[in-house]
Symmetry: C2
Subunit: 424 residues, 2 copies
């Protein structure tokens, strides 16, 4: 294959997996969508007004983003222990395009943990590189095991590949776990030894349940080589507004990367929607409404995701410790014999298919996150359980006991019933 | 260089060329910015309201764009003689990312006319291909000369390259000219003969001055192989809102491209800002306010761009016939001897530098559009002359005689004075 050959690319499965459920819904059958990471919560009124007020803004503005936005984002990171030069902040129409542009800007091959978000591997391929998969340590998803990382990079170099970047997700999608500080520190040291850039996707950073136990960014341990990305899709449910920001490291690497990233951004997207930038600046300044919403959303995710994890554990299915996000990552391995014997299911895709067809439940198989096809892990997202109408969603945010809300209770019962059926 | 080597990329010069002018402005010196293609006109109140009303929309929605937007865009094309299936419309955060994603989706090398918009060449390089430059016929910018196209593609194939796409701009940036129907027809025939896809950037399609003389899209002559892209940045001055749409051909090629383009879009940007899509749907439905604004903007561009062209012609500088857009493309070749003798200027970059430093006038040298470095062509954009404040811009839109508005008159006098100085 030459460099100019059309490269294979997969449709982002998290964006299309709901189609099968839709068909069932149209037949009037009950469905339980646990696939999408889209956060089903309303836009804060404050941010609606900020967007509306910025509607007259129609200039392109700076490629890297408006000064007001970059300054606000720098303050956001500073409040989280990462002093940030607004001149080293770059925004884009989502953290997804920023992550792709970073991979293009750095060049070379890309190490990704297993499991990890589907798009990292596709970005490496679209940029002409190779994704190099390294398993995460048990219970600490989102970072490659440091010792295995070293071995994998040396192996890749010995066969002529050129790994330059390690992408990590802290806290993690798909597992909802958080890599511990010692693991992140060891990872940072390996990356320093081997001259690797760390791209740390911290879009779930505000969704660690224990407010005092913030996730450790690799930028604390290897500040000279860590790029941090985040956005407003997860903490403030603004996925459809499409905005992300990244924070480049101070020092020569950061300055070189900034020049190259802005050049690439200028060719790929020019600038990010100006009214959205204005509203995002408001969000990153974190006025009280925003802080209050973050706290409420975090508590809601925690309550519902942990309740869902309990349903799996009650069925004898192990789930890594859910400490953040709205995701859990059960492994149905203990049910393998039964799934094969009763349902003819032998892999993750078959398991996901069984759950849709027999129970109207949508989940994503671990294979989409880089696991072997035979794995019986699935990613379960609770982010769409909080209600359909805005009133329900607001009720979920303000409820003392969200599990007692009928629509959330029904969803968890639906899940428990399906798991009971699979095990008996 | 391997496929994974970091590829060279240039900052989009139209987005950075204003820096030198800013320095002068800060010194209180008069400046005349003729560099940027950003349209200095206000957002229509109707569209501000549409954006504000859509602020609650925070879901990702379909990768290809909301049904309402795709249906509205299909209607827009249908009214222009191109019946369109909304299922073959794809939107993105600007036509720039769409053009890049199309180049990735098609693969191979890319033929671009000379002169042409700076980003086409960079997209080809970023996607791992080679830009193959073919001159446009005199006075018909935006399309490669059909006979030269054939020869260039055959030459490229004989040296092992794989040209698959021809990018055209109808009407043209940077020249403000419009390729005639016979040229477009001949181009379409060559592309059919050689099995090339045509990507027709028609973002200036609504800015042909003579409403009865609409530009000929290659989609009329080679409907089975032409992709049309457009956006709202030029006709409605919504550049900073970032939205573009493309129309894929009906038939097998279009269906294959659709699948691949949507897959790539799902990995590069997921979706386009939902509130912007809603406002864009309103715009593409073309209610009377939109039609009225298009007419007023078109007339303003025509009046000012033609007046600017007259200033050049009065100084003995030829300008190709300006029939659309807010651009003109004078060639200062007749002044070469004088520029070299008096000012030591021997190329386009030197000429642009002289105009900034001596006269505070910003233009872009033709070399940025693919011309030889020695060329003395420059691209002149009148899109920032319509006023600074919203009231001035609205006055320009509604003026019977916009050239009599003091700020526009002063700008043209500034230009005439500088040209007089260069020639005497």
């Amino acid at each position: 294959m030459t460099a100019t050959e059309a490269r294979p690319v997969e449709v982002s499965p998290t964006l299309t997996a709901d189609a099968a459920l839709d068909a069932r819904r149209r037949q009037g059958l009950p469905v339980l969508s646990l696939t999408s990471g889209e956060i089903g919560l309303p836009v804060l009124p404050l941010l609606r007004r900020a967007l509306a007020d910025a509607a007259p803004e129609n200039g392109y503005g700076p490629v890297a983003g408006a000064v007001a936005l970059r300054t606000a984002a720098a303050g956001y990171w500073e409040r989280r222990g990462l002093p940030t030069d607004p001149g080293l902040v770059v925004c884009g129409p989502g953290s997804k395009p920023l992550l792709f542009a970073l991979v293009l800007a750095i060049g070379g091959d890309v190490v990704v943990p297993v499991p990890s978000w589907v798009s990292y591997r596709q970005h490496a391929i679209l940029a002409g590189g190779e994704p190099i998969a390294v398993p995460a340590p048990p219970g600490e998803g989102g970072v490659p095991d440091p010792a295995e990382l070293r071995a994998a990079v040396l192996r890749a170099r010995s066969r002529g590949r050129d790994p330059r970047t390690v992408i990590v997700t802290v806290p993690d999608n798909p597992t909802g776990t958080v890599a511990g500080p010692e693991t992140v520190r060891a990872l940072a040291e390996v990356c320093r030894d081997l001259g690797l850039v760390i791209v740390s996707d911290e879009i779930y950073g505000d969704l660690v349940y224990d407010e005092r136990a913030r996730a450790s960014s690799p930028a604390r341990f290897a500040p000279e080589r860590t790029v941090v990305t985040t956005g407003l899709a997860k903490n403030l449910a603004l996925g459809g507004w499409r905005i992300g920001v990244c924070r480049l490291p101070a020092g020569p690497l950061g300055r070189r990367l900034h020049e190259r990233l802005v050049a690439i951004a200028s060719q790929l997207w020019s600038a990010t929607a100006a009214p959205v930038q204005a509203a995002a600046a408001c969000a990153f300044r974190e006025p009280p409404e925003v802080v209050g919403r973050l706290r409420a959303a975090r508590r809601l995710h925690e309550t519902v995701a942990r309740a869902a994890a309990e349903r799996f554990r009650a069925a004898g299915v192990p789930v890594p410790p859910v400490r953040a996000t709205c995701y859990l990552y059960p492994d149905l391995e203990p049910l393998r014999g039964r799934l094969a014997a009763v349902h003819g299911v032998r892999d993750g895709a078959g398991l996901a298919g069984l759950l849709v067809e027999r129970h109207g439940i949508g989940v994503l198989p671990g294979s989409l996150f880089g696991e072997a096809a035979g794995s019986l892990t699935v990613r379960v997202s609770t982010s769409r359980l909080y209600g359909q109408a805005e009133a329900e969603r607001n009720a979920a945010l303000s409820a003392d006991l969200p599990l007692r809300l009928p629509w959330i209770g029904r969803a968890l019962d639906h899940l428990a019933t399906a798991l009971h059926d699979l095990t008996t």
